[in-house]
Symmetry: C2
Subunit: 168 residues, 2 copies
């Protein structure tokens, strides 16, 4: 099965909702300095996305450790984006939650060949690596604004990549 984990999916929701808040802040204050955005508490974010507080808090912590969010501790604290939303892409979010993506065992660039029983025999390895790179490339190209509500004002998501929609 090729799929994105639920946690990563939730994380995308969270990031998207924070992106929206940031955009609102910008519209209100005419300022693009992200560090001035008032932080949103874990509870609020959980409510926004219909997630349980503990689960949401866990994801927020992970995203913070990955430097995608920054946190403000103490009363009145919370989270905000650590980067402009255009500098955050789907790949980063997924990797923050689930670790580096590896479409197949052998595709990792830091792969130790001795652990692969097929080693030199594995013909598909190079081909699969290309597949891996193409998927990775695709994920990097999808930035946060595309994933949030803002997409409505930013234009259609499906850009020039997908020329043919015959997939399935």
């Amino acid at each position: 099965m090729i799929k994105i984990s639920k946690k990563a999916d939730y994380a995308v929701l969270i990031m998207a909702s924070l992106s929206t808040r940031q955009a609102e802040h910008e519209a209100r204050t005419q300022s693009t300095t992200i560090h001035e955005v008032e932080p949103t508490s874990a509870q609020e974010i959980a409510d926004d996305n219909r997630l349980s507080r503990p689960l949401c808090a866990n994801l927020l912590k992970t995203l913070t450790r990955a430097s995608l969010l920054e946190s403000v501790r103490g009363a009145g604290g919370g989270y905000r984006l650590a980067l402009p939303s255009f500098d955050i892409n789907l790949m980063q979010i997924i990797e923050a939650i689930d670790g580096p993506i590896r479409l197949v065992e052998c595709a990792g660039s830091d792969h130790d060949h001795s652990t692969c029983s097929l080693s030199d025999h594995c013909q598909s390895q190079s081909a699969m690596r290309i597949v891996h790179e193409r998927v990775a490339n695709l994920l990097v190209q999808i930035q946060l604004p595309e994933l949030s509500q803002q997409q409505a004002s930013t234009g259609p998501v499906s850009g020039h990549l997908t020329t043919l929609h015959d997939a399935k």
Copy 2:
């Protein structure tokens, strides 16, 4: 984690090795009629790909049920490709083994909205569906010859594929 299952990975190996055999047959006999290719037994295929026989047999059965392979029963029997290798793509192989790919819960076209607790609230849904389609599109474009040894003689992997054989 976004990844392809080991079984699907093995299946690709198997399909690739059978594709190679078919290509060899064509070179030998100057015939492109795939149904004339002598079948390869599960044991042989397992050896070719360094897989255990039972596991390999299981995958072969699944691939046959998905109409990607055809089988010849009885003594001297085995498997061969059911289609020209250009008509088989990565998507088909993965779906044969793991079932329809669903990057996220909500992305399925046959999705019942009532089961989704987020329902109308889920903002990322449409965006995620686009992601899903892009990945699917990418997988469909990768055909069997690209995944087998033949790529060496057929040219670079990232070549002309978009123009020929619009899968399905």
